[in-house]
Every structure is written in structure tokens, then in C-alpha cells.
Symmetry: C2
Subunit: 414 residues, 2 copies
């Protein structure tokens, strides 16, 4: 596999401490040598938690564990390992989760159902969870509010750079912070699409409100990105609120509109963090050389627009054309058509890099190809598709499909 | 682009004359130089015709033309060009079809609606149909019952070998023949999936019976194959019966069961021809080095089994693993799960090359990897998936995803 860093990599932002969160990473030798591969994240007592998981029908054992734990609405510890996904491992996999959670709970002084676990990498091999359990005391000892980068690095698998994002938001006149880390670069697709993403805030927000905000945010960000249309068996987004910063009280009793009015800036910041992380994941798509943004307008409905955008984002022919720096709008027409969504060829318009190349069912005579060619040579490619039928709009993000993807996945059991 | 012949190529079979069919090919210079690119196929008066076309919502002008012409149920001439798909070409595209059909009809002495047209290759460029019209008199002059190979070669685009299949069948005690030619190697996906395929028989079968047999046959063959999940805007399968061989009369009045009893051997032979051609198309998948057969059993329904088989066949991660000769059954589990069809991880079994590697939700302890490794090095890879829930079964075919696909599609406007 290639070890070159993605050309779309971004520097890790400064990640100040977030009240109520301490992190640590250790090398437990799960699979990789000479690097950290187990991460512990401890949050303050009474922290609330929301989670969104893969829609894959064959989820890993950690997904089952987290879904059950989530019912309690409270979190104290998150334990993550890279190098083994603990997927399709039968009873041994379930036991690995339960025993890891029990051991972590004992050390942290909480209940096992307040421990969340996540694992990624190889499917079908029994997780050597005794290595994780053995690492837990050292991890607990090493917990620090300054270890964000170590945590972001410890959860990486085929990632070529660590991924994090942070934002502040106002609740009333109190400033709270939202910080997230993520990993993932292949087996990434819509329908609950991310690999692993852990987001923390020092705000105090009831679990049910947190859950509905997370779901809404993920739908518009992670679920609009794709690397290869393959939906992982391990996808997990957790959002944990430590409640360590004083601000006007948010209560489920405020009703939906009351809470959402008070949390409007928080929701904006949360979505910024989610989108930032989703784009970092897409930008580290296996073999990616270019990031692609697809804006669909004029569809019958927003749902239809999203399906069209994702059909284009998942088309191997569109993605290889972009890798070849060819603004092959014919392939975009094909992908719109194969989505199965309402579309009328004779009302369809396609633009690349701000230039409409095809308008209402035919090529624009004598359009200027020069700016299009220049745009295709850049690292960020923008495709505009107007369906011409209604007011539905959506945006999707993907990356190009290159030799790098074949190299990584054809020669490496990841 | 690579010009190497696919390792999965098969020699062209001997193609004896078929009563009532004459063919010819010419070099009209549509796009390619130094090769034939326009084909004429003339059939006897009163030949009946059936057709199945792309489900893509942005079909090419020739698809619209053929759908209308098909209503008449009769064919005299088929004109096919390679090098330009006549898709997304607006009024100019419609005019190109109408004028080509009018010119061919005049030469052949039939009505324009008995002329079928098909075009493939680049999307969005106006078809220089005057070059086709100019070639028609020469094509008509050159028509011969011995030109099957010339026709199979003249319709190729990125194909690395010409594709044909022939079978005989008994209707009563009369022997009839079915011969088909096909082209296609990319933008190939389910849901009415083929590029171009033209099948002829000397049997005499009413158009409505022909249509229902073709639809059924295509669903079980071409619609179960995929190269890259991209559904072409030009997909066309035509089946033409010239009625030149005497056999017991087939009439719509026989009723469905009467006709199907008399045509059972014909249906078997037709499906053999369709499957043979579909596998040749898959075996010429852009960049393909291996053909992959995916057998799904134990699904809730046959429909569910087909969706699962196609999800596996379309997974870039499964296809790159096969290219890397890695029997990575974890990725197969992932693809089963992402299909969204009913599946229970703990009842799922996965086999490769006849060896069950995973049984009922976990790896088979100590399974023998040696025959699996040997199987993966071969040109034909077989994957068995048992869902363990019901009796639904289906088979899908695909090819591996290699650097060749990226080469062809990242550097060539096809």
C-alpha cells in the first residue's frame, strides 16, 4: 500500500482542552507494529450521549454493543481500537465487547453500559481483546485533556492523515465548544456513512435532543459523502455532551421549537464540525487525488436530488473521468439517468467549474472549454446539475477513482 | 488505452448462414480510422421483432426511435454505428435517427418504422449521420449471409474481441437456429444491462411471444451481469425472427402455456445464447482479468437473492480484492449487509472456490486455505453465499476491478 499522504490532507487544527474530556492512546499490538492502536476517551460523570450507526445489515459486534448501551443515554468511557473490526466473529466478538467494557468500567468506576466500544480494520478475525484489556490501566493512567492529537492518530487505519475539527457556539451568552475526531478512508458510502467519528461538547444537552440533532446533522453531511459506495460494517458517530459549561438550561420540556431556538447556533457549529470531518474523510479517500462536490438543483424533491447527487458521486465512470481530468459531461448525464429518479433529458443542464457545458438536453454550442480544462486540473472539482423539473436541491461529496484505490485494495487486506 | 485482448476472450464460434438474414459492414469514418464502424443487417419481409432497452432515464435518441418502431412488431433493417452514441443531442439526434431510417427504408424497400437504429460510444456529440446515409448504398450492395464476423467486429467500441453465439433448437421436429452478436465492455450494469446485442432466428414466432421470451431471458442473463454498475444510455437487445424455416405453427391463440410448451427447447437455446453473450461482455469488462460468478442461496425470495448478488458484484472492495487474488470474505459480508436485503449475520455462510470459509456468522476454524489460494489465481472465480433464511436463489456475474479500468476510463473519452 502507498504511504504517501493524500494531496487533499489538511493540517490538524489546534485542539484546546474541552472541559470534561480526557484522552490517551497506547500501542497494544492488535495488528500494526510501531504505532498506537488503542484509544481511551473518558468523559465527566453524567455526560449524555447520542449515536448514529451503520445501516449495514451485517454490523460488527461493537455496533450491537453500542446500540444497546445507547439506550441508557449516558457515557463515561469510549474505547477504540484500530487493526481489527471485530465483525463476523460470532460469540467471541460479543464476549470481546462485554469483557472490554467490564474491564474499562471497573477502572473508570462506572457501569459497563456507560462504556462505548468501537473497532475497525480487518473483518472476520477474532479480536485479541485481552491485549486491549491489558492496555486499559496504562491508558487510564495516561488520560490527559491535551491528548486530542494522540487520539486522532491512534484510531487511524488506512488513513494518511489524522482528522479533527473544532468550533465554538453560543448558547444564550455562554460559549461552548464542539470538538470531533474521525477516521476512515475506504468502505465509505451513503446511508449512515462514516467510519468512526467521536464528537464532544462541554454543553449540557439531554440525550434525546442530542440524538435528534446528531441524526439531522449526519444526514446532511456524512450521509452525503461517498468514497466507493461500500457501506462499512463498523460505521459509528458518537456525540457526547459533558455538561461542564454553564449556560441557559436546555430541557426536553422546552419542546422541540424551544430547544431548537436556543440551540440554533450550536446546531450550526455541530454541522460545521460534521461537514469538516466528513470532507476530511472524503479527502483521504483511498487513492484520492481530487475532491468532488456535486450540486444538484431543480429536482422534483430534496430526496430525489440527494439520490441523483449520490448516483453521480458513486459512478466509477464519472470518478475515473475526473481522475483523468476530463470534464466528460456525457458520463454525468448517464449517471443522472441511472439514478432512476425523475429526470427529463431535454430539460437537463450540466456545468463544471461554473461553466454550463450542456443546457436543456444538448451541448452548449461553442462554450468556452479553457476555464473548464483549468478547473479539472485543480484539486477541488465542482459539478453542477440542474434537473429543470422542480425545486429539490442537494449536495454530495466524493473523490476521484485512481490507480491508488486499486493499489490499496488489491494488495492489502485492510 | 490498452489494446491488449482480454484474458477472458473466447474465439469467435463458427457462424453458419441463418435463413433470412444478410449482413454487411463498412468504414464510414464516424470517429475511428482504419476500421469498420457501420453495420447493416437486413432480414426477410415479415420478420417479427422483440426488443429490450436501457432503463436509464436519459436514453439516447436511437432508443426512443426503436421503442416507437417496436410497436409495429416488424423489422426489415437494422443499422448500427460505433464511435458516437447519439445521446443528449437534442433535436439533431432525433433528426439523425429519422433521416437514417428513411434512407435505409428507401434502399431496402420498406417503411421507416421497420428500420431499427443503434449507436454507441461518445455521448453528447452530434452524430454525423450523413456519413451513415452515404454508406448505406454500399452496405446494401455488400449484404451477404456470410458476414456475421464482419458485423460482430463493426459494432465494437472499447471491446477487445468480437462477441457472438449460436445455438440450434427443436420446434416440433424442425430444427431452427438462433444466432446473436453483441458488443460492450464498460458502462455495464443491471436493470436492463447490455450494450448492444442483436439476435436472429429463422423460426416463425409472433412478436408478442418473442417479446415475452426475450424479456424473461434478459432478466436472467444480461440483467444479472455488471462491469461497473453504470447503466448505459444506449443498451439495446433486439431479437428478430425471420420465419424462414418451416415448423409447427406458433400462434398467440395457443395461449401462454401452449406456446411455451412448443417453444420450451427454443427458450432453452435462446437463454443459452443470451447467457453466452452476456458472459462474453462481462469477460471483456474494461480492464477485466478475471470473471466472477456469485451464487446466492437461502435468501428470503429470489428477488432478494438477486439484489444481494448484484450488491456483491458491484462492490469495488470485493472486485479489487479479487484483482489482488485475495479471498477477502469479510468484504463479501460487508457487501451482503449493504444490500439492505434481509440477512442475519449469524446465519450467513461464505464460500470461495467450493470451500466454505465462514459458516453461520463466524470463520470456519482451520479451513483449508490451499485450494482457495489456488482458485483465486485462476481466471474464473466462484463465490457462494448462503443467507440461511429461505429458499431464494440467484446468480450474478461480474469481473474484477483492475488498473486497466482506470487506464481505459481515466485517459480515454469513450
Amino acid at each position: 500500500m502507498s504511504t504517501a499522504v493524500s494531496p487533499l490532507a489538511v493540517p490538524l487544527p489546534a485542539l484546546p482542552p474541552l472541559a470534561g474530556v480526557r484522552l490517551s492512546a497506547a500501542a497494544a499490538g492488535i495488528r500494526y507494529q510501531g504505532r498506537t492502536d488503542v484509544v481511551m476517551m473518558e468523559v465527566a460523570p453524567n455526560s449524555t450521549v447520542a449515536g448514529v450507526f451503520t445501516s449495514n445489515k451485517c454490523p460488527g459486534a461493537p455496533i450491537d454493543w453500542c446500540r444497546t448501551a445507547l439506550k441508557g443515554g449516558k457515557a463515561r468511557v469510549v474505547v477504540v481500537n484500530a487493526g481489527n473490526a471485530n465483525v463476523f466473529t460470532g460469540k467471541a466478538g460479543r464476549d470481546a465487547c462485554a469483557e472490554t467494557a467490564a474491564a474499562a468500567a471497573k477502572i473508570a468506576g462506572c457501569q459497563p453500559k456507560q462504556v462505548f466500544v468501537a473497532s475497525t480494520a480487518v473483518i472476520g478475525e477474532v479480536l485479541p481483546h485481552e491485549k486491549i484489556v491489558a492496555a486499559l490501566p496504562g491508558l487510564h493512567e495516561a488520560l490527559s485533556e491535551d491528548n486530542w492529537e494522540a487520539a486522532a492518530r491512534g484510531i487511524m487505519t488506512t488513513d494518511t492523515f489524522p482528522k479533527a475539527a473544532t468550533q465554538t457556539a453560543l448558547i444564550g451568552d455562554a460559549t461552548v465548544r464542539i470538538t470531533g475526531i474521525a477516521k476512515g478512508s475506504g468502505m465509505i458510502a451513503p446511508d449512515m456513512a462514516t467510519m468512526l467519528c467521536f464528537i464532544f461538547t462541554d454543553a449540557k444537552i439531554p440525550a434525546e435532543i442530542l440524538q435528534s440533532m446528531l441524526k439531522k446533522g449526519v444526514d446532511a453531511t456524512f450521509n452525503c459523502t461517498t468514497v466507493d459506495s461500500d457501506t462499512s460494517t463498523s460505521d459509528t458517530v458518537l456525540l457526547i455532551a459533558t455538561g461542564q459549561t454553564k449556560h441557559p438550561r436546555i430541557s426536553a420540556a422546552d419542546g422541540k421549537s424551544g430547544a431548537s431556538r436556543m440551540l440554533s447556533d450550536f446546531a450550526r457549529a455541530l454541522n460545521d464540525v460534521l461537514l469538516d470531518l466528513a470532507l476530511q474523510v472524503t479527502g483521504d479517500g483511498e487513492g484520492a487525488q481530487k475532491r468532488v462536490r456535486i450540486d444538484v438543483t431543480g429536482a422534483k424533491t430534496a430526496k430525489s436530488a440527494k439520490r441523483i447527487a449520490m448516483a453521480v458521486a458513486n459512478s466509477p465512470l464519472v470518478k475515473t473521468a475526473i481522475a483523468g481530468e476530463d470534464a466528460n459531461w456525457g458520463r454525468i448525464v448517464m449517471a443522472v439517468g441511472k439514478s432512476g429518479e425523475p429526470a427529463d433529458r431535454d430539460k437537463l443542464s450540466i456545468g463544471v467549474g461554473g461553466v454550463w457545458m450542456a443546457r436543456e438536453g444538448a451541448v452548449v454550442p461553442g462554450y468556452d472549454e479553457t476555464p473548464v480544462v483549468a478547473h479539472m486540473k485543480g484539486k477541488e472539482v465542482e459539478i453542477a446539475i440542474d434537473i429543470g423539473l422542480g425545486r429539490g436541491a442537494a449536495t454530495a461529496w466524493t473523490c476521484d477513482l485512481t490507480h491508488g484505490y486499486i493499489d490499496i485494495n488489491g494488495s492489502y487486506r485492510s
